[in-house]
């Protein structure tokens, strides 16, 4: 069974008296363990597609299912356990809870899930990304790269089956970006998760199993490839 299915997705926004269609009739399915890159130029609808696939937003029409469970039309509270157990998010601007330390940010989804070993898992993940000594630092005391690595740990703490990353290296320099990306792929591989990553960076796309390209809200290309091949 596919981990993610989307059928005839449309997303329209009303701006004053105009209606703007951001996504047009997109259908796709993603198999477990795949690393999928969604690419396209700025304004092509990549991030919107990611928000619809992850349940952060609802489509104007169409259907999305995660592991066979339809999430279209689900309320925030119905989506909450799905987000907590099945999905991990990594955002371009990190979105760490400012009032929590690095360790607490990572622990949080595990604690919501009721895991007793949340702290040990958080510390193990921090060690894994080389931030063990920053466990008790507040987000404001971390550099951009460190924040994103904490964000990465937080996304992985409940061993989700689906990992959504929106331009995870967009706010980082190349050195930090490469480091975050390689750790993201390593963690994904270790946990056998599916990674759906939005980027317009061709270097990142080169590492993916499959590249979907959007243009003006339409899926114009969907190429499956061997990692390392040119697009």
């Amino acid at each position: 069974m596919n981990i993610l299915e989307a059928r005839n997705l449309n997303k329209t926004y009303a701006v004053e008296n105009r209606r703007i269609t951001v996504l047009k009739n997109i259908s796709l399915s993603i198999a477990p363990g795949e690393f999928v890159v969604i690419s396209g130029s700025s304004g092509s609808g990549k991030t919107t597609l990611l928000t619809l696939l992850s349940g952060l937003d609802q489509p104007s029409s169409g259907y999305v299912a995660i592991q066979g469970q339809e999430i279209t039309g689900a309320t925030e509270d119905e989506l909450a356990p799905i987000r907590n157990r099945m999905i991990g998010f990594v955002f371009q601007s990190f979105h760490l809870v400012p009032s929590m330390t690095a360790k607490e940010n990572i622990m949080f989804p595990a604690e919501i899930m009721g895991k007793k070993d949340a702290e040990q898992t958080a510390l193990r993940l921090l060690r894994r990304v080389g931030l063990a000594d920053r466990a008790d630092n507040m987000p404001s005391q971390l550099s951009g790269g460190e924040k994103q690595r904490v964000s990465l740990c937080r996304a992985m703490v409940n061993q989700p089956k689906l990992l959504f990353a929106d331009e995870p290296t967009g706010n980082l320099d190349s050195e930090n970006g490469n480091r975050v990306l390689s750790q993201l792929i390593d963690l994904k591989t270790e946990q056998g998760a599916t990674l759906i990553l939005v980027t317009h960076n061709p270097d990142i796309a080169r590492a993916a199993d499959r590249i979907m390209t959007l243009e003006d809200g339409r899926l114009i290309q969907d190429i499956s490839r061997t990692p390392g091949q040119g697009p």
Binding site: L56, E76, F108
Partner: protein, 832 residues
């Protein structure tokens, strides 16, 4: 520099919720003080407008003795010259009996001459005029007398040594509102029957009032001036209708004094609200201000525009506050109308409103200073780093707080007109705020250091320390407000429990006044008890250490004063509940001169020491005594006590009556009273437990009004809470959205916010209960000297109410935050 109205309009519109809270705070700060001080002025103005009716004459001469010869002669001359008309009345208490002596009731008698009242009208049930009905042998009584004695018009009553027939029922009289507290129902008697009553015994407390109607109004002040010069001012009081103090005026002065305290207290709490909400409003603008500065806006430009915003919003708040204040004045006039003479018009005093507007502007400027001053420390770098600005210089802030203290001191003195009480009030309020600040600070610091396992609770605790939050301010204002309300409630309940619900077992409940010295043996036989008689000699204090008493200053004191009439007594021993504070025993053996032992309460009225001299005036005879000891009472009870105690030989030949107090079972009170009065019509019997019950009823009504208004101070705390939620809105949204993105349900977010509010509500109310319990305990034990009860059940329900209020308001004001969808938030992020 140009003012940009568009910018001002936009800034207000974009922070409309904060602006509304700010306006409400300004309004609240003014509403009660406008209402109370305005009401005092309005009542004064209304009573003055109708003052002739209120006093029933142009000139009023009062005395507790028969008028001095020169004054009496001068009045007679004016009457003969046709310059004034005279009508006298005598007012005193006496026990009225039914003709068969089956029941009796203590009543307030008014023996009036023809001509009374010169102004206003005594309204009778029959619609006839007073003097048409009130002829010799007839009486007019209050309806309550008929109810209590089970009589009807036409029946006969026994008053003193005579029988009189009830002819009519009085509905209202111009110089006394029907509902003003008194020991008994009113009975009007014609002056022709005064001698037949046989009640004008030497030493009885009778108020003699001479009312003069001046034929030429322009002469009033001249006549008063002349009469004042002739009068013996130690015992005779000469006033015009405009200067005379009435019981109504005194009642309102005292009541409004307490309401004004509440008003000032609310002003302090809502002032904190003004500062807190304005800080929140400006914090919200911090990013925008940083950008404006980065683009070249000067500090002055920013300051002027935000000052205009503050003045604009403040003016709306002031307008709303004054308007509400006027409405409350009308509400108060309605609530208290039973205490006003019938038909008194209620006139709003516009000078009070102007004063309120000025006061409002001052409050606004003082409390807005610190938040506006912080604007200059919002630097352009905050575009990148959104920290809370740190003040570059603290001294203007300290100067502002100094001004605040001065402002309040001025306000307290202005409204209380008593420096000592003002200082006590300031110290009390300051102490309360300081204690709550220290305790809440300690609690929050302790909590911050705790390692909390529970996720929701941990997040709630973190929420208490949110950037831009006002947890401590909310807690201090809520605690202080609740503390005042709880204290009033606890004090009232304790007084009620001691004196009303369970009348003290060891206290006498029946007082017998005006017993004549030759009646003691027969009286003891009549009551069939071992009776202790206390001699009473009525006197005034005229000098202390040869310095005359400043009667005007003494009268203006809010507390007990040396200008009133005192009851002196004589005995050679201390009472069971007395102890000597200074001196070795009651009287010194080594002094030859006249000695007096004084109660410590007198020292509280004016500092005095052993060896000092006090001069008394006993019905015209001066008596100088030296203080031989200072006594104190060991417990508050209803046992009789005396401020001045002399040796027997000093007062034995002075005109005197005797007083006695007995403990009688409630069912025996009525029969005993009737039996005593039947044999001794001159003796007055006061059922203390019944009197206290009536008094407690009125006090409950008045304290309810004070408590009701005190509750407004909670509103200030609530407004600070709402503004704090608004001020931390961005942080709360971020938290809420992240919780949801990471898999938390809305119920989790509600739980976190609720726990936060629960902590604030519970801590504030527990703290308020603890402080008010300690405070009430201290007052009960050491000031009132009565037993103290905690009334825990009531306290718990009040605490629960406060917690529900805080939580309800907190969650309601955070509703839009809870409803925020993650995607909406993410889209709003600049780099999302």
């Amino acid at each position: 520099m140009m003012i940009h109205p568009g910018f001002i309009r936009r800034e207000i519109a974009r922070s409309s919720k904060q602006a509304v809270v700010f306006i409400l705070c300004v309004g609240l700060s003014l509403v009660t003080l406008t209402a109370f001080s305005g009401f005092s002025k309005s009542i004064h103005q209304s009573l003055l407008y109708d003052a002739r009716k209120l006093h029933a004459a142009d000139i009023i001469i009062r005395s507790y003795e028969t008028l001095s010869e020169p004054l009496s002669r001068a009045i007679s001359e004016y009457v003969q010259e046709g310059r004034v008309a005279l009508a006298k009345y005598h007012e005193f208490y006496s026990v009225i009996r039914t003709s068969d002596d089956s029941t009796s009731v203590l009543s307030q008698l008014k023996v009036v001459e023809k001509g009374y009242p010169f102004y206003g009208e005594v309204l009778l049930q029959s619609g006839r005029s007073l003097h048409e009905v009130l002829t010799s042998g007839q009486v007019v009584v209050a309806p309550t007398l008929l109810d209590r004695l089970g009589l009807k018009i036409g029946d006969t009553i026994q008053v003193g040594y005579t029988s009189l027939s009830i002819q009519d029922v009085v509905l209202s009289e111009p110089d006394r509102p029907i509902s003003l507290f008194s020991f008994g129902p009113r009975v009007f008697i014609a002056a022709e029957d005064l001698d037949a009553l046989g009640l004008l015994q030497t030493g009885s407390r009778i108020r003699h009032v001479n009312l003069l109607k001046v034929e030429d109004n322009a002469q009033t002040d001249v006549l008063v001036h002349r009469l004042s010069q002739i009068a013996d001012l130690e015992r005779e009081q000469v006033d015009t209708f405009q200067t005379a103090r009435s019981r109504i005026k005194r009642f309102f002065e005292k009541f409004m004094f307490f309401l004004n305290l509440v008003g000032i207290f609310i002003l302090v709490v809502s002032g904190v609200g003004i500062q807190s909400t304005l800080t929140a409003l400006l914090n919200e603008k911090q990013y925008a201000i940083a950008i404006m500065k980065a683009l070249g806006a000067t500090n002055r430009h920013i300051l002027v525009h935000y000052m205009v915003i503050v003045l604009l919003l403040g003016s709306i708040g002031m307008g709303a506050g004054i308007l509400m204040g006027i409405l409350i004045q009308y509400g108060l006039a309605n609530l208290l109308s039973v205490f006003l003479p019938p038909g008194t018009p209620f006139l709003i005093a516009w000078s009070g409103l102007v004063e309120s507007a000025g006061l409002g502007m001052l409050v606004l400027l003082i409390f807005s200073f610190v938040p506006l001053y912080r604007l200059r420390d919002m630097h352009p770098v905050m575009v990148l780093r959104q920290d809370i600005p740190v003040l570059s210089s603290q001294w203007p802030v300290f100067a502002c707080y100094g001004m605040l203290a001065l402002f309040f001191f001025g306000l307290v003195i202005r409204h209380m007109q008593d420096v000592r009480f003002g200082l006590y009030f300031m110290a009390g309020l300051g102490g309360l705020i300081m204690i709550t600040t220290l305790v809440t600070y300690a609690m929050l610091s302790l909590l911050r250091r705790q390692h909390i396992q529970n996720l929701a609770f941990r997040q709630a605790v973190k929420g208490l320390f949110r950037k831009g939050g006002a947890t401590q301010t909310i807690m201090v204002s809520m605690t202080t407000a609740l503390c005042v309300i709880f204290s009033i409630y606890l004090l009232e309940q304790n007084l009620n429990a001691t004196f009303v619900t369970s009348f003290p077992q060891d206290s006498p409940n029946l007082f017998f006044l005006d017993i004549q010295p030759d009646q003691t043996t027969a009286f003891s036989k009549n009551v069939d008890k071992n009776v202790l008689f206390y001699p009473i000699v009525r006197a005034r204090v005229t000098h202390v250490n040869s310095a005359p008493i400043n009667r005007k200053a003494e009268h203006s004191k809010k507390r007990d004063n040396l200008a009133r009439v005192f009851n002196l007594t004589y005995r050679s021993h201390l009472l069971d509940d007395e102890l000597i504070l200074e001196g070795k025993k009651l009287y010194r053996d080594d002094w030859q001169e006249i000695q007096v032992s004084v109660l410590d309460t007198v020292i509280d009225m004016q500092p005095m020491d052993i060896g000092d001299t006090i001069q008394f005036n006993i019905q015209g005879v001066p008596l100088i005594a030296r203080i031989s000891s200072i006594r104190s009472r060991t417990k508050g009870s209803l046992r009789p006590f005396f401020y001045f105690v002399f040796k027997k030989e000093t007062l034995i030949s002075a005109p005197q009556t005797l007083f006695s107090a007995l403990r009688v079972s409630p069912e025996d009170v009525g029969p005993l009273q009737t039996r005593v009065v039947k044999q001794f019509p001159n003796i007055n019997v006061i059922d203390v437990s019944e009197t206290i019950r009536v008094f407690a009823g009125i006090m409950k009504q008045l304290s309810g009004i004070v408590q009701g208004f005190s509750a407004l101070s909670i509103l200030a705390g609530v407004l600070i809470l709402i503004s704090s939620v608004f001020a931390t809105r961005a942080e709360r949204i971020t938290e809420s959205v992240y919780y949801k993105i990471l898999g938390a349900k809305t119920s989790f977010v509600v739980k976190v916010f609720s726990l936060e509010n629960l902590f604030i509500g519970l801590t504030s109310s527990v703290l308020a209960v603890v402080i008010s319990q300690v405070e009430t305990y201290l007052i009960c034990r050491f000031v009132l000297e009565i037993d103290f009860q905690m009334f825990l059940l009531s306290c718990i329900s009040m605490m629960a109410g406060a917690v529900v209020l805080v939580n309800g308001v907190g969650i309601l004001s955070a509703r839009s935050i809870l409803e925020k969808k993650p995607i909406t938030y993410l889209r709003e992020q600049p780099d999302a």
